[in-house]
Subunit: 277 residues, 2 copies
Protein backbone atom coordinates (compact mmCIF):
# COMPACT_ATOMS: atom_id res chain seq x y z
CA UNK A 1 0.00 0.00 0.00
CA UNK A 2 1.21 3.49 -0.83
CA UNK A 3 0.19 6.53 1.22
CA UNK A 4 1.49 9.71 -0.38
CA UNK A 5 4.08 7.61 -2.16
CA UNK A 6 5.37 5.90 0.98
CA UNK A 7 4.96 2.17 1.58
CA UNK A 8 2.71 2.08 4.66
CA UNK A 9 -0.83 1.19 5.62
CA UNK A 10 -1.57 3.56 8.50
CA UNK A 11 -3.13 7.00 8.18
CA UNK A 12 -3.27 9.89 10.64
CA UNK A 13 -6.49 10.00 12.65
CA UNK A 14 -6.57 13.73 11.94
CA UNK A 15 -7.10 13.01 8.22
CA UNK A 16 -10.41 14.49 7.12
CA UNK A 17 -11.13 11.28 5.23
CA UNK A 18 -11.76 9.64 8.59
CA UNK A 19 -13.03 12.72 10.43
CA UNK A 20 -15.77 13.63 7.94
CA UNK A 21 -15.56 11.24 4.96
CA UNK A 22 -14.07 14.27 3.23
CA UNK A 23 -12.72 12.55 0.11
CA UNK A 24 -13.31 10.27 -2.85
CA UNK A 25 -12.42 6.78 -4.01
CA UNK A 26 -12.21 4.57 -7.07
CA UNK A 27 -12.31 0.78 -7.29
CA UNK A 28 -10.72 -0.75 -10.41
CA UNK A 29 -10.33 -4.28 -11.73
CA UNK A 30 -6.69 -5.29 -12.35
CA UNK A 31 -6.01 -8.10 -14.82
CA UNK A 32 -2.46 -9.25 -15.58
CA UNK A 33 -1.05 -6.09 -14.04
CA UNK A 34 -3.28 -3.76 -16.05
CA UNK A 35 -5.91 -1.59 -14.32
CA UNK A 36 -9.08 -1.69 -16.44
CA UNK A 37 -10.66 1.56 -17.66
CA UNK A 38 -8.00 3.52 -15.82
CA UNK A 39 -8.47 6.86 -17.58
CA UNK A 40 -12.22 6.82 -17.06
CA UNK A 41 -11.75 6.18 -13.35
CA UNK A 42 -9.20 8.96 -13.06
CA UNK A 43 -11.50 11.34 -14.91
CA UNK A 44 -14.30 10.65 -12.44
CA UNK A 45 -11.83 11.08 -9.57
CA UNK A 46 -10.83 14.48 -10.92
CA UNK A 47 -14.48 15.47 -11.43
CA UNK A 48 -15.17 14.45 -7.83
CA UNK A 49 -12.23 16.51 -6.55
CA UNK A 50 -13.49 19.48 -8.50
CA UNK A 51 -16.99 19.08 -7.04
CA UNK A 52 -15.63 18.92 -3.47
CA UNK A 53 -12.98 21.58 -4.23
CA UNK A 54 -10.18 19.21 -3.28
CA UNK A 55 -6.92 20.01 -5.03
CA UNK A 56 -6.52 16.72 -6.95
CA UNK A 57 -2.98 15.31 -6.76
CA UNK A 58 -1.05 15.12 -10.03
CA UNK A 59 -2.64 12.48 -12.25
CA UNK A 60 0.72 11.43 -13.70
CA UNK A 61 1.95 10.71 -10.20
CA UNK A 62 -1.21 8.77 -9.33
CA UNK A 63 -0.79 6.74 -12.53
CA UNK A 64 2.83 5.91 -11.66
CA UNK A 65 1.82 4.72 -8.21
CA UNK A 66 -1.09 2.72 -9.60
CA UNK A 67 1.25 1.02 -12.10
CA UNK A 68 3.65 0.18 -9.27
CA UNK A 69 0.94 -1.36 -7.09
CA UNK A 70 -0.82 -3.17 -9.96
CA UNK A 71 2.12 -4.64 -11.84
CA UNK A 72 2.43 -7.91 -9.91
CA UNK A 73 -1.34 -8.50 -9.67
CA UNK A 74 -2.72 -11.25 -11.92
CA UNK A 75 -6.34 -10.62 -10.98
CA UNK A 76 -7.30 -8.22 -8.26
CA UNK A 77 -8.94 -5.02 -7.17
CA UNK A 78 -7.14 -1.70 -6.98
CA UNK A 79 -8.42 1.05 -4.76
CA UNK A 80 -7.51 4.71 -4.95
CA UNK A 81 -8.58 7.03 -2.12
CA UNK A 82 -8.05 10.78 -2.23
CA UNK A 83 -8.89 12.79 0.88
CA UNK A 84 -8.63 16.48 1.63
CA UNK A 85 -5.85 15.62 4.08
CA UNK A 86 -5.47 16.84 7.64
CA UNK A 87 -6.21 20.29 8.99
CA UNK A 88 -8.83 22.91 8.54
CA UNK A 89 -10.87 24.04 11.52
CA UNK A 90 -13.72 21.72 12.27
CA UNK A 91 -15.80 21.26 9.14
CA UNK A 92 -14.17 24.32 7.55
CA UNK A 93 -11.72 22.97 4.97
CA UNK A 94 -10.11 26.37 4.27
CA UNK A 95 -6.74 25.66 5.89
CA UNK A 96 -6.49 21.94 5.20
CA UNK A 97 -2.98 20.80 4.31
CA UNK A 98 -2.07 18.59 1.34
CA UNK A 99 -4.64 16.07 0.10
CA UNK A 100 -3.78 12.46 0.93
CA UNK A 101 -3.48 9.81 -1.78
CA UNK A 102 -3.84 6.16 -0.87
CA UNK A 103 -3.32 3.42 -3.43
CA UNK A 104 -3.46 -0.31 -2.80
CA UNK A 105 -4.62 -3.62 -4.18
CA UNK A 106 -6.88 -6.24 -2.61
CA UNK A 107 -7.86 -9.80 -3.55
CA UNK A 108 -10.44 -10.33 -6.29
CA UNK A 109 -13.87 -11.05 -4.77
CA UNK A 110 -14.71 -14.58 -5.88
CA UNK A 111 -18.25 -14.47 -7.26
CA UNK A 112 -19.53 -17.72 -8.85
CA UNK A 113 -19.03 -17.77 -12.64
CA UNK A 114 -22.70 -18.56 -13.21
CA UNK A 115 -23.70 -15.13 -11.90
CA UNK A 116 -22.76 -13.79 -15.32
CA UNK A 117 -24.37 -16.58 -17.31
CA UNK A 118 -27.42 -17.46 -15.22
CA UNK A 119 -28.02 -14.16 -13.47
CA UNK A 120 -28.47 -13.19 -9.83
CA UNK A 121 -31.30 -12.49 -7.40
CA UNK A 122 -32.16 -8.96 -6.37
CA UNK A 123 -34.11 -7.61 -3.41
CA UNK A 124 -35.68 -4.26 -2.59
CA UNK A 125 -33.96 -2.37 0.25
CA UNK A 126 -35.82 -0.33 2.86
CA UNK A 127 -32.92 2.12 3.24
CA UNK A 128 -33.46 5.21 1.08
CA UNK A 129 -30.98 7.60 -0.50
CA UNK A 130 -31.24 11.25 0.51
CA UNK A 131 -31.05 13.93 -2.17
CA UNK A 132 -28.04 16.15 -2.56
CA UNK A 133 -27.27 17.38 -6.06
CA UNK A 134 -23.77 18.49 -5.00
CA UNK A 135 -22.86 14.92 -4.05
CA UNK A 136 -24.87 13.06 -6.71
CA UNK A 137 -22.89 11.01 -9.23
CA UNK A 138 -19.45 11.25 -7.61
CA UNK A 139 -17.87 8.45 -5.59
CA UNK A 140 -17.29 10.19 -2.28
CA UNK A 141 -16.44 8.61 1.06
CA UNK A 142 -19.86 9.18 2.73
CA UNK A 143 -21.24 5.68 2.23
CA UNK A 144 -23.34 4.96 5.31
CA UNK A 145 -26.50 4.66 3.23
CA UNK A 146 -24.91 1.87 1.18
CA UNK A 147 -23.63 0.17 4.34
CA UNK A 148 -27.11 0.28 5.93
CA UNK A 149 -28.76 -1.00 2.74
CA UNK A 150 -26.27 -3.86 2.36
CA UNK A 151 -26.72 -4.79 6.03
CA UNK A 152 -30.41 -5.50 5.42
CA UNK A 153 -29.86 -9.08 4.23
CA UNK A 154 -27.50 -11.98 4.88
CA UNK A 155 -28.89 -14.62 2.52
CA UNK A 156 -26.12 -15.64 0.13
CA UNK A 157 -28.76 -16.44 -2.50
CA UNK A 158 -29.38 -12.71 -2.90
CA UNK A 159 -26.54 -10.85 -4.58
CA UNK A 160 -27.70 -7.29 -4.71
CA UNK A 161 -30.34 -4.89 -3.37
CA UNK A 162 -32.19 -2.10 -5.16
CA UNK A 163 -32.13 1.24 -3.34
CA UNK A 164 -34.76 3.93 -3.87
CA UNK A 165 -34.44 7.63 -3.14
CA UNK A 166 -36.61 9.43 -0.59
CA UNK A 167 -39.24 10.03 -3.29
CA UNK A 168 -39.50 6.27 -3.95
CA UNK A 169 -37.77 6.22 -7.34
CA UNK A 170 -35.23 3.52 -8.22
CA UNK A 171 -31.64 4.84 -8.09
CA UNK A 172 -29.14 1.98 -8.01
CA UNK A 173 -27.98 -1.21 -6.34
CA UNK A 174 -25.95 -1.09 -3.12
CA UNK A 175 -22.74 -1.53 -5.15
CA UNK A 176 -23.91 -1.38 -8.74
CA UNK A 177 -25.98 0.51 -11.29
CA UNK A 178 -29.20 -0.88 -12.71
CA UNK A 179 -30.55 -1.15 -16.24
CA UNK A 180 -34.02 -2.15 -17.48
CA UNK A 181 -34.30 -3.56 -20.99
CA UNK A 182 -37.48 -3.57 -23.08
CA UNK A 183 -37.02 -4.57 -26.70
CA UNK A 184 -34.57 -2.11 -28.22
CA UNK A 185 -34.94 0.33 -25.34
CA UNK A 186 -32.68 0.46 -22.32
CA UNK A 187 -33.40 2.69 -19.33
CA UNK A 188 -31.25 3.47 -16.33
CA UNK A 189 -32.00 5.82 -13.43
CA UNK A 190 -31.12 9.49 -13.67
CA UNK A 191 -28.50 10.30 -11.04
CA UNK A 192 -28.91 14.05 -10.63
CA UNK A 193 -30.00 13.96 -6.96
CA UNK A 194 -28.20 10.90 -5.59
CA UNK A 195 -26.43 7.71 -6.62
CA UNK A 196 -23.01 6.93 -8.08
CA UNK A 197 -22.45 7.28 -11.82
CA UNK A 198 -20.52 4.02 -12.27
CA UNK A 199 -17.70 3.72 -14.79
CA UNK A 200 -19.15 0.40 -15.99
CA UNK A 201 -22.53 2.15 -16.30
CA UNK A 202 -20.92 4.51 -18.80
CA UNK A 203 -19.42 1.56 -20.70
CA UNK A 204 -22.79 -0.22 -20.85
CA UNK A 205 -24.48 2.90 -22.21
CA UNK A 206 -21.85 3.21 -24.95
CA UNK A 207 -21.84 -0.46 -25.90
CA UNK A 208 -25.64 -0.60 -25.92
CA UNK A 209 -25.83 2.46 -28.17
CA UNK A 210 -23.27 0.95 -30.54
CA UNK A 211 -25.47 -2.17 -30.73
CA UNK A 212 -28.48 -0.07 -31.76
CA UNK A 213 -30.27 0.23 -28.42
CA UNK A 214 -32.03 3.47 -27.48
CA UNK A 215 -30.58 4.30 -24.07
CA UNK A 216 -32.18 6.84 -21.75
CA UNK A 217 -31.48 8.10 -18.23
CA UNK A 218 -34.83 8.65 -16.58
CA UNK A 219 -36.94 8.36 -13.44
CA UNK A 220 -37.76 4.65 -12.94
CA UNK A 221 -40.32 3.26 -10.52
CA UNK A 222 -40.26 -0.11 -8.79
CA UNK A 223 -43.26 -1.09 -10.94
CA UNK A 224 -41.31 -0.27 -14.10
CA UNK A 225 -38.42 -2.46 -12.93
CA UNK A 226 -40.86 -5.29 -12.28
CA UNK A 227 -42.50 -4.90 -15.68
CA UNK A 228 -39.21 -4.82 -17.62
CA UNK A 229 -38.40 -7.72 -19.95
CA UNK A 230 -34.88 -7.95 -18.62
CA UNK A 231 -32.75 -6.32 -15.93
CA UNK A 232 -29.05 -6.17 -15.30
CA UNK A 233 -26.68 -4.56 -12.81
CA UNK A 234 -23.16 -3.39 -13.44
CA UNK A 235 -19.98 -2.28 -11.71
CA UNK A 236 -16.26 -2.13 -12.43
CA UNK A 237 -15.50 -5.44 -10.74
CA UNK A 238 -18.49 -7.62 -11.62
CA UNK A 239 -18.84 -6.16 -15.10
CA UNK A 240 -22.44 -7.00 -15.95
CA UNK A 241 -24.80 -9.40 -14.19
CA UNK A 242 -28.20 -10.26 -15.65
CA UNK A 243 -30.98 -10.35 -13.05
CA UNK A 244 -32.83 -13.66 -12.66
CA UNK A 245 -35.27 -12.51 -10.01
CA UNK A 246 -36.24 -9.21 -8.35
CA UNK A 247 -38.42 -9.78 -5.28
CA UNK A 248 -41.27 -11.95 -6.66
CA UNK A 249 -40.66 -11.31 -10.36
CA UNK A 250 -38.67 -13.73 -12.54
CA UNK A 251 -36.88 -12.62 -15.70
CA UNK A 252 -35.91 -14.53 -18.82
CA UNK A 253 -32.13 -14.53 -18.42
CA UNK A 254 -31.76 -16.95 -21.31
CA UNK A 255 -32.82 -14.16 -23.63
CA UNK A 256 -30.29 -11.72 -22.20
CA UNK A 257 -28.42 -9.99 -24.99
CA UNK A 258 -25.15 -11.95 -25.28
CA UNK A 259 -23.71 -9.32 -27.57
CA UNK A 260 -24.24 -6.63 -24.96
CA UNK A 261 -22.78 -8.84 -22.27
CA UNK A 262 -19.72 -9.72 -24.32
CA UNK A 263 -19.26 -6.20 -25.60
CA UNK A 264 -19.24 -4.80 -22.10
CA UNK A 265 -16.91 -7.47 -20.79
CA UNK A 266 -14.51 -6.91 -23.68
CA UNK A 267 -14.51 -3.14 -23.27
CA UNK A 268 -14.40 -3.33 -19.51
CA UNK A 269 -11.82 -6.01 -18.98
CA UNK A 270 -9.75 -6.83 -22.05
CA UNK A 271 -6.07 -6.02 -21.54
CA UNK A 272 -5.69 -4.34 -24.89
CA UNK A 273 -8.63 -2.03 -24.37
CA UNK A 274 -7.58 -1.16 -20.87
CA UNK A 275 -3.97 -0.61 -21.84
CA UNK A 276 -4.86 1.56 -24.81
CA UNK A 277 -7.02 3.94 -22.77
Amino acid sequence: MLINGQAQDLLSVSDRGLQYGDGLFETLAVIDGVPALLDRHLQRLQAGCQRLKIDCPDIGLIKQEIALEAKAVVRGVLKVIITRGSGGRGYNPADAAQPSRIIYTAPWPEYPDNYRTEGVNLRLCRTRLGWNSQLAGIKHLNRLEQVLARAEWRETTISEGVILDTSGQVIEGTMSNIFAINGSEIATPKLDQCGVAGIMRGVVIEVAQSLGYQVSEQRISVAQLKQAEQLCCTNSIIGIWPIRRFEDVHYAVGRFDQQLLEGVMALGFSHEQAASR
Copy 2:
Protein backbone atom coordinates in the same frame (compact mmCIF):
# COMPACT_ATOMS: atom_id res chain seq x y z
CA MET B 1 -4.22 9.93 21.59
CA LEU B 2 -5.53 6.47 22.40
CA ILE B 3 -6.57 4.03 19.67
CA ASN B 4 -8.10 0.93 21.19
CA GLY B 5 -6.31 1.74 24.41
CA GLN B 6 -2.89 2.10 22.80
CA ALA B 7 -1.04 5.43 22.68
CA GLN B 8 -0.81 6.11 18.94
CA ASP B 9 -2.27 8.44 16.35
CA LEU B 10 -2.34 6.28 13.21
CA LEU B 11 -5.24 4.13 12.07
CA SER B 12 -5.36 1.31 9.51
CA VAL B 13 -6.51 2.47 6.07
CA SER B 14 -8.74 -0.61 6.03
CA ASP B 15 -10.81 0.83 8.88
CA ARG B 16 -14.39 1.33 7.75
CA GLY B 17 -14.38 4.75 9.40
CA LEU B 18 -12.15 5.94 6.55
CA GLN B 19 -13.49 3.61 3.85
CA TYR B 20 -17.17 4.55 4.25
CA GLY B 21 -17.51 6.96 7.17
CA ASP B 22 -18.91 3.90 8.96
CA GLY B 23 -18.90 5.22 12.52
CA LEU B 24 -19.81 7.95 14.98
CA PHE B 25 -18.17 10.71 16.98
CA GLU B 26 -18.65 13.00 19.95
CA THR B 27 -17.01 16.34 20.68
CA LEU B 28 -16.91 17.39 24.34
CA ALA B 29 -15.67 20.43 26.20
CA VAL B 30 -13.06 19.66 28.86
CA ILE B 31 -12.59 22.13 31.72
CA ASP B 32 -10.03 21.53 34.46
CA GLY B 33 -9.75 17.88 33.48
CA VAL B 34 -13.50 17.27 33.54
CA PRO B 35 -15.37 16.40 30.33
CA ALA B 36 -18.65 18.34 30.32
CA LEU B 37 -21.97 16.52 29.95
CA LEU B 38 -20.10 13.23 29.60
CA ASP B 39 -22.99 10.88 30.25
CA ARG B 40 -25.26 12.64 27.78
CA HIS B 41 -22.56 12.37 25.09
CA LEU B 42 -22.02 8.70 25.82
CA GLN B 43 -25.76 8.05 25.69
CA ARG B 44 -25.96 9.61 22.22
CA LEU B 45 -22.90 7.60 21.18
CA GLN B 46 -24.62 4.39 22.30
CA ALA B 47 -27.85 5.37 20.56
CA GLY B 48 -25.85 6.00 17.37
CA CYS B 49 -24.13 2.62 17.62
CA GLN B 50 -27.51 0.98 18.05
CA ARG B 51 -28.89 2.77 14.99
CA LEU B 52 -25.91 1.70 12.85
CA LYS B 53 -25.80 -1.75 14.49
CA ILE B 54 -22.24 -1.20 15.63
CA ASP B 55 -21.35 -3.19 18.74
CA CYS B 56 -20.55 -0.25 21.06
CA PRO B 57 -17.36 -0.78 23.08
CA ASP B 58 -17.75 -1.01 26.85
CA ILE B 59 -18.80 2.38 28.23
CA GLY B 60 -16.80 1.89 31.41
CA LEU B 61 -13.68 1.36 29.31
CA ILE B 62 -14.42 4.43 27.19
CA LYS B 63 -14.91 6.49 30.36
CA GLN B 64 -11.57 5.31 31.76
CA GLU B 65 -9.79 6.27 28.57
CA ILE B 66 -11.58 9.63 28.43
CA ALA B 67 -10.52 10.35 32.03
CA LEU B 68 -6.93 9.48 31.17
CA GLU B 69 -6.83 11.78 28.14
CA ALA B 70 -8.74 14.63 29.80
CA LYS B 71 -7.07 14.76 33.20
CA ALA B 72 -4.22 17.14 32.31
CA VAL B 73 -6.37 19.42 30.12
CA VAL B 74 -7.23 22.81 31.65
CA ARG B 75 -9.48 23.87 28.79
CA GLY B 76 -9.79 21.84 25.64
CA VAL B 77 -11.85 19.71 23.34
CA LEU B 78 -12.13 15.94 23.66
CA LYS B 79 -13.10 13.84 20.69
CA VAL B 80 -14.35 10.26 20.78
CA ILE B 81 -14.63 8.36 17.50
CA ILE B 82 -16.14 4.87 17.29
CA THR B 83 -15.96 3.07 13.95
CA ARG B 84 -17.16 -0.36 12.90
CA GLY B 85 -13.49 -1.36 12.57
CA SER B 86 -11.85 -3.16 9.66
CA GLY B 87 -13.26 -5.98 7.59
CA GLY B 88 -16.56 -6.92 6.10
CA ARG B 89 -16.87 -7.39 2.35
CA GLY B 90 -17.29 -4.12 0.56
CA TYR B 91 -20.21 -2.23 2.05
CA ASN B 92 -21.43 -5.41 3.77
CA PRO B 93 -20.55 -5.02 7.46
CA ALA B 94 -21.47 -8.61 8.38
CA ASP B 95 -17.93 -9.88 9.00
CA ALA B 96 -16.35 -6.68 10.30
CA ALA B 97 -13.91 -7.23 13.14
CA GLN B 98 -13.87 -5.30 16.42
CA PRO B 99 -15.08 -1.69 16.42
CA SER B 100 -12.30 0.88 16.79
CA ARG B 101 -12.31 3.45 19.58
CA ILE B 102 -10.30 6.62 19.22
CA ILE B 103 -10.03 9.14 22.04
CA TYR B 104 -7.97 12.33 22.04
CA THR B 105 -7.94 15.95 23.06
CA ALA B 106 -7.36 19.03 20.93
CA PRO B 107 -6.83 22.74 21.73
CA TRP B 108 -9.83 24.86 22.64
CA PRO B 109 -10.98 26.89 19.63
CA GLU B 110 -10.48 30.51 20.61
CA TYR B 111 -13.69 32.35 19.78
CA PRO B 112 -13.89 35.98 20.88
CA ASP B 113 -15.60 36.40 24.27
CA ASN B 114 -18.03 38.94 22.87
CA TYR B 115 -19.66 36.26 20.68
CA ARG B 116 -21.54 35.19 23.79
CA THR B 117 -22.37 38.70 25.00
CA GLU B 118 -22.89 40.58 21.73
CA GLY B 119 -23.94 37.76 19.46
CA VAL B 120 -22.68 36.56 16.06
CA ASN B 121 -23.62 36.95 12.40
CA LEU B 122 -25.33 34.16 10.53
CA ARG B 123 -25.68 33.48 6.82
CA LEU B 124 -27.92 31.21 4.76
CA CYS B 125 -26.10 28.29 3.08
CA ARG B 126 -26.90 27.01 -0.42
CA THR B 127 -25.89 23.44 0.50
CA ARG B 128 -28.94 21.39 1.49
CA LEU B 129 -29.28 18.37 3.77
CA GLY B 130 -30.66 15.19 2.20
CA TRP B 131 -33.30 13.23 4.08
CA ASN B 132 -32.54 9.92 5.71
CA SER B 133 -34.53 9.05 8.81
CA GLN B 134 -32.09 6.24 9.69
CA LEU B 135 -29.23 8.72 9.97
CA ALA B 136 -31.18 11.71 11.34
CA GLY B 137 -30.23 12.93 14.82
CA ILE B 138 -27.11 10.80 15.35
CA LYS B 139 -23.58 12.15 15.01
CA HIS B 140 -22.19 9.84 12.33
CA LEU B 141 -19.00 10.28 10.31
CA ASN B 142 -20.68 11.15 6.97
CA ARG B 143 -20.23 14.92 7.19
CA LEU B 144 -19.60 16.07 3.62
CA GLU B 145 -22.77 18.17 3.63
CA GLN B 146 -21.47 20.13 6.62
CA VAL B 147 -18.04 20.49 5.00
CA LEU B 148 -19.58 21.82 1.77
CA ALA B 149 -21.85 24.21 3.67
CA ARG B 150 -18.98 25.54 5.81
CA ALA B 151 -16.82 25.99 2.70
CA GLU B 152 -19.33 28.48 1.28
CA TRP B 153 -17.88 31.47 3.14
CA ARG B 154 -14.53 32.71 4.35
CA GLU B 155 -15.48 36.04 5.94
CA THR B 156 -14.42 35.98 9.59
CA THR B 157 -17.28 38.35 10.39
CA ILE B 158 -19.72 35.49 9.81
CA SER B 159 -19.60 32.79 12.46
CA GLU B 160 -22.19 30.29 11.37
CA GLY B 161 -24.39 29.28 8.43
CA VAL B 162 -28.01 28.07 8.44
CA ILE B 163 -28.56 24.86 6.45
CA LEU B 164 -31.94 23.91 5.02
CA ASP B 165 -33.10 20.45 4.02
CA THR B 166 -34.04 19.54 0.45
CA SER B 167 -37.61 20.70 1.12
CA GLY B 168 -36.34 24.17 2.11
CA GLN B 169 -37.02 23.92 5.85
CA VAL B 170 -34.46 25.17 8.38
CA ILE B 171 -32.58 22.29 10.05
CA GLU B 172 -29.46 23.53 11.81
CA GLY B 173 -26.20 25.44 11.59
CA THR B 174 -23.11 23.84 10.04
CA MET B 175 -21.81 23.01 13.54
CA SER B 176 -24.68 24.01 15.82
CA ASN B 177 -28.40 23.80 16.47
CA ILE B 178 -30.70 26.76 16.08
CA PHE B 179 -33.45 28.21 18.28
CA ALA B 180 -36.00 30.92 17.54
CA ILE B 181 -37.46 32.84 20.49
CA ASN B 182 -40.78 34.71 20.45
CA GLY B 183 -41.96 35.93 23.83
CA SER B 184 -42.32 32.86 26.03
CA GLU B 185 -42.16 30.47 23.09
CA ILE B 186 -39.00 28.80 21.83
CA ALA B 187 -38.94 26.75 18.63
CA THR B 188 -36.18 24.56 17.24
CA PRO B 189 -36.24 22.45 14.06
CA LYS B 190 -37.54 18.90 14.17
CA LEU B 191 -34.70 16.52 13.32
CA ASP B 192 -36.57 13.43 12.18
CA GLN B 193 -35.23 13.44 8.59
CA CYS B 194 -31.78 15.01 8.94
CA GLY B 195 -29.60 17.06 11.26
CA VAL B 196 -27.71 16.32 14.46
CA ALA B 197 -29.55 16.34 17.79
CA GLY B 198 -26.90 18.27 19.72
CA ILE B 199 -26.24 17.60 23.40
CA MET B 200 -26.29 21.34 24.11
CA ARG B 201 -29.60 21.52 22.21
CA GLY B 202 -31.01 19.09 24.78
CA VAL B 203 -29.63 21.19 27.63
CA VAL B 204 -31.14 24.38 26.18
CA ILE B 205 -34.54 22.73 25.87
CA GLU B 206 -34.42 21.62 29.51
CA VAL B 207 -33.16 24.93 30.88
CA ALA B 208 -35.69 26.89 28.83
CA GLN B 209 -38.53 24.70 30.08
CA SER B 210 -37.37 25.13 33.68
CA LEU B 211 -37.48 28.91 33.11
CA GLY B 212 -41.09 28.71 31.97
CA TYR B 213 -40.62 28.80 28.19
CA GLN B 214 -42.87 26.72 25.95
CA VAL B 215 -40.40 24.75 23.80
CA SER B 216 -41.44 22.96 20.62
CA GLU B 217 -39.63 20.99 17.94
CA GLN B 218 -41.27 21.87 14.65
CA ARG B 219 -40.82 22.64 10.96
CA ILE B 220 -39.33 26.14 10.69
CA SER B 221 -39.08 28.21 7.51
CA VAL B 222 -36.45 30.82 6.66
CA ALA B 223 -39.21 33.44 6.92
CA GLN B 224 -40.01 32.29 10.45
CA LEU B 225 -36.35 32.63 11.44
CA LYS B 226 -36.30 36.12 10.01
CA GLN B 227 -39.48 37.11 11.83
CA ALA B 228 -38.34 35.76 15.21
CA GLU B 229 -37.68 38.22 18.03
CA GLN B 230 -34.42 36.54 18.92
CA LEU B 231 -32.28 33.68 17.63
CA CYS B 232 -29.47 31.65 19.13
CA CYS B 233 -27.27 28.76 18.14
CA THR B 234 -25.78 26.12 20.40
CA ASN B 235 -23.21 23.37 20.55
CA SER B 236 -21.14 21.57 23.17
CA ILE B 237 -18.09 23.78 22.72
CA ILE B 238 -19.58 27.25 22.14
CA GLY B 239 -22.42 26.71 24.56
CA ILE B 240 -24.95 29.28 23.43
CA TRP B 241 -24.42 32.23 21.07
CA PRO B 242 -27.14 34.83 20.53
CA ILE B 243 -27.54 35.84 16.88
CA ARG B 244 -26.97 39.50 16.07
CA ARG B 245 -27.74 39.29 12.36
CA PHE B 246 -29.09 36.66 9.96
CA GLU B 247 -28.62 37.72 6.34
CA ASP B 248 -30.26 41.17 6.22
CA VAL B 249 -32.19 40.90 9.50
CA HIS B 250 -30.86 42.36 12.76
CA TYR B 251 -31.93 41.06 16.16
CA ALA B 252 -32.07 42.73 19.54
CA VAL B 253 -29.27 40.85 21.31
CA GLY B 254 -29.45 43.20 24.27
CA ARG B 255 -32.79 41.66 25.11
CA PHE B 256 -31.45 38.12 24.98
CA ASP B 257 -32.55 36.17 28.04
CA GLN B 258 -29.54 36.33 30.37
CA GLN B 259 -31.11 33.74 32.63
CA LEU B 260 -31.30 31.26 29.77
CA LEU B 261 -27.76 32.02 28.71
CA GLU B 262 -26.37 31.66 32.21
CA GLY B 263 -28.47 28.59 32.95
CA VAL B 264 -27.20 26.82 29.86
CA MET B 265 -23.60 27.78 30.50
CA ALA B 266 -23.83 26.61 34.10
CA LEU B 267 -25.42 23.29 33.17
CA GLY B 268 -23.17 22.80 30.18
CA PHE B 269 -19.84 23.82 31.59
CA SER B 270 -19.71 24.01 35.36
CA HIS B 271 -17.32 21.49 36.84
CA GLU B 272 -19.66 20.34 39.56
CA GLN B 273 -22.51 19.68 37.15
CA ALA B 274 -20.26 17.89 34.70
CA ALA B 275 -18.60 15.84 37.39
CA SER B 276 -21.88 14.83 39.00
CA ARG B 277 -23.40 13.50 35.77
